[in-house]
């Protein structure tokens, strides 16, 4: 592959050290994890190579500052912006910001990385409070400031673009934990239950024949996670933030498989494994072509059961089904596919943004069908709901909650009644639930 060097250096300055230091700070600000050792290396490398040839300087900095392939794209843009003019701070902000700012507020499809880069540039070094505030949308400090608290409980649907950005950052800091299960391997442990003969005899050989028993205990490992996320029209306001949530889960755990469905099912696990969340979301948006369209829950679940469930559901996987459960077409096979899904997984959690309404009741046919085959039923409309979910995941209790049991009983009664009156195929609940969302 031919490396393209995105720069030209007009005036190599004697203040090379300082410039590289500033450049490293810029890279840190846009999310690269760089220590001061890397910075010293970069300065050293730049001095060794010299600044006469911009190509050499570029590659010298790449070799010192890039540790992951995913960071390369961000680095290239930062390099381009920074080394165009050594006095970058005033100049870049003057030149680039007005254009991007205008674009950022009016046009949604501004290049996401460029946006992040200019955001980082927009925070002058002395203007720390705003940056600190961003970081402090943390779940331990909940309620310390009124607006943070408000953001915590605010519905994603009601958030402005700026608030959404804060929420996305907060999600990136979530670090969700998954329920664990005991693996069939063991590790040495002084309080273990099993004798580790090999370790004991290795010790004996070193100690001249004194056999002291060593112990080991069984290790646990996180369960695999499967996420099925609805991106149809009724979920439109949530789909972007859900992608961020899925990315946060994927980057914290190795075994996360994620799928999007509207009218058809798409596997996005590989895209979500991209380290950079903007790149991940960007590549997914190219892959999926049924955004904000209709919903075919039943057909999508059937496709999942048929093609994927045996490949990703092994080893006691937990499944998250993110959907409002509203399917215009009444499909009687939905129950069969839900049942199959439920049987293939260790626990099935239904995350429904509609659950935020106090008056929620399983009225529409599809909701009534789905609810009979889930273990947990939780809201997912706000940051607080997501935090609660991660807490539940971390110590996954298997018992079902009582409210869910009530709903399930009601749903069972209702479908029984519907079966007894076959002519009664109308859906009284659908319109009422739509009213809540409006």
């Amino acid at each position: 592959m031919i490396e393209t060097v995105p720069t030209r250096i007009s005036h190599p300055t004697p203040k090379l050290d300082q410039n590289i230091m500033l450049f490293v700070r810029l890279l840190r600000a846009i999310g690269l994890k760089l220590g001061s050792a890397s910075m010293l290396e970069a300065i050293d490398a730049a001095k060794t190579v010299g600044v006469a040839d911009k190509d050499f300087l570029y590659h010298a900095l790449v070799s010192c500052l890039i540790k992951r392939r995913e960071d390369k794209a961000l680095f290239d843009q930062a390099f381009y912006l920074f080394w165009q003019n050594p006095k970058f701070h005033e100049r870049i902000r003057d030149l680039i910001l007005p254009r991007i700012k205008a674009a950022g507020h009016q046009q949604e499809d501004v290049e996401p990385m460029l946006r992040r880069l200019t955001d980082a540039l927009a925070d002058p070094p002395d203007d720390k409070p705003t940056a600190a505030e961003d970081v402090e949308i943390d779940f331990d400090t909940e309620g310390t400031a009124a607006d943070i608290d408000r953001l915590q409980h605010k519905d994603f649907e009601m958030m402005s673009a700026a608030e959404m950005l804060h929420a996305e950052q907060a999600i990136a800091n979530l670090q969700p934990k998954l329920p664990r299960r005991s693996a069939r391997r063991s590790k040495l442990s002084s309080r273990g239950q099993f004798i580790a003969m090999r370790a004991a005899l290795q010790h004996a050989e070193r100690q001249g024949g004194m056999v002291i028993p060593k112990f080991c205990s069984v290790i646990t490992k996180p369960r695999p996670l499967v996420i099925l996320c609805d991106i149809s029209g009724s979920m439109e306001h949530y789909s972007r933030i859900m992608l961020h949530f899925i990315h946060a889960l994927t980057s914290n755990h190795p075994q996360v498989s994620s799928f999007l469905f509207g009218t058809r099912l798409t596997n996005i696990s590989r895209q979500m494994r991209h380290r950079d969340v903007d790149e991940a979301v960007h590549s997914v948006s190219h892959l999926v072509d049924d955004w904000a369209g209709g919903t075919r829950i039943s057909a999508s679940l059937e496709a999942f059961n048929q093609d994927w469930s045996r490949r990703v559901m092994g080893q006691g996987a937990i499944t998250l089904l993110i959907t409002d459960g509203l399917d215009r077409n009444r499909d009687d096979a939905l129950g069969i596919h839900m049942k199959r899904l439920h049987k293939s997984t260790a626990a099935l959690l239904w995350l429904n943004p509609l659950l935020r309404f106090d008056g929620f009741a399983p009225k529409s046919h599809s909701v009534r069908t789905i609810i009979q085959h889930v273990d947990h039923f939780l809201p997912i409309h706000s940051l607080q709901a997501m935090t609660d979910l991660t807490a539940i995941l971390a110590k996954m209790q298997t018992r079902r909650d009582t409210k869910l049991a009530e709903w399930q009983a009601a749903a069972r009664r209702a479908s029984l009644a519907a079966d007894l009156m076959p002519g009664h195929a109308k859906e009284p609940g659908y319109a009422q639930e739509r009213e809540h969302t409006a």
């Binding site: 001249g208 490949r311 199959r340």
Partner: protein, 306 residues
Amino acid sequence: MLAFDTVEAVQRELGSAGYIASDGLAVSLFLALAKQRALFLEGEAGVGKTEIAKMLTRVLDRDLIRLQCYEGLDINQAAYEWNYARQLVEIQAQRQSAENEKPAADNLFREDFLIERPLLRALRANPRGAPILLIDEIDRADEAFEAYLLELLSDWQISIPELGTIAAATPPIVIITSNRTREIHDALKRRCFYHWVDYPSREVEREILALKAPEAGAVLQAQVVDFVQTLRGQQLFKSPGVAETIDWAQALVELNCVALDPQIVDSTMGVLLKYQDDIGRIQGSEAARILSEVQAALVQGELSRA
């Protein structure tokens, strides 16, 4: 150490032993043998992945060393284990014979205290030639075990920390199978020739049935194969494999059945389908419909041939 000269020879030899290999499989197998690399077979349950290794054993007249994978499989069960009882006895013996100032435990980790498990055994010299190592259902073992296999598959050696590296006398013929209940890491696949074992075509499946269930008459064989082939197009949760086809034909022979009828199909459905949802969908009217289609098509074929 080339076992076969041509791809056709692979097919011919396996065929005479009772295994009908598709072209793709024969080529992969030929390459794996010629290039001394592992063969990675993936496919649904019951399409004859394990059977290939067994047949190869018979054709090449080698030993079969089988490692059945399961979760938690570790070095002690897969590669080697130290004989702890003998080591303890050795300590006692050394202690009794030694003077007080000498160490009482010397060289406890010697080769003669090593218990060989399948992977290590496959590396040892064998009078019948390099053995066939079948690593069965690797998707059931955890990822850590895959990583352990990497050294074996690329350099044909096993490193034992206390002893050193044990290299193969001659590389074994390695066949790895997976049911794809999870994805196997690319690093492992890279070291193998990969082949996806698919359901056989109608013609191949008839050949297989003629070999494996000759007691069933030609009519029954044709009906059974056509019925199963139609079932595979029905979007079932688990389609019947070749093993199920053979089982079904043999079961029908046991029941003294010479041709399929709706009643016998319904009562033996459990041999073909293993999920209650699938059985519920097919049993009854759907089975009768498929059967009448199959019978009509067969009659049509007879007429056009006559």
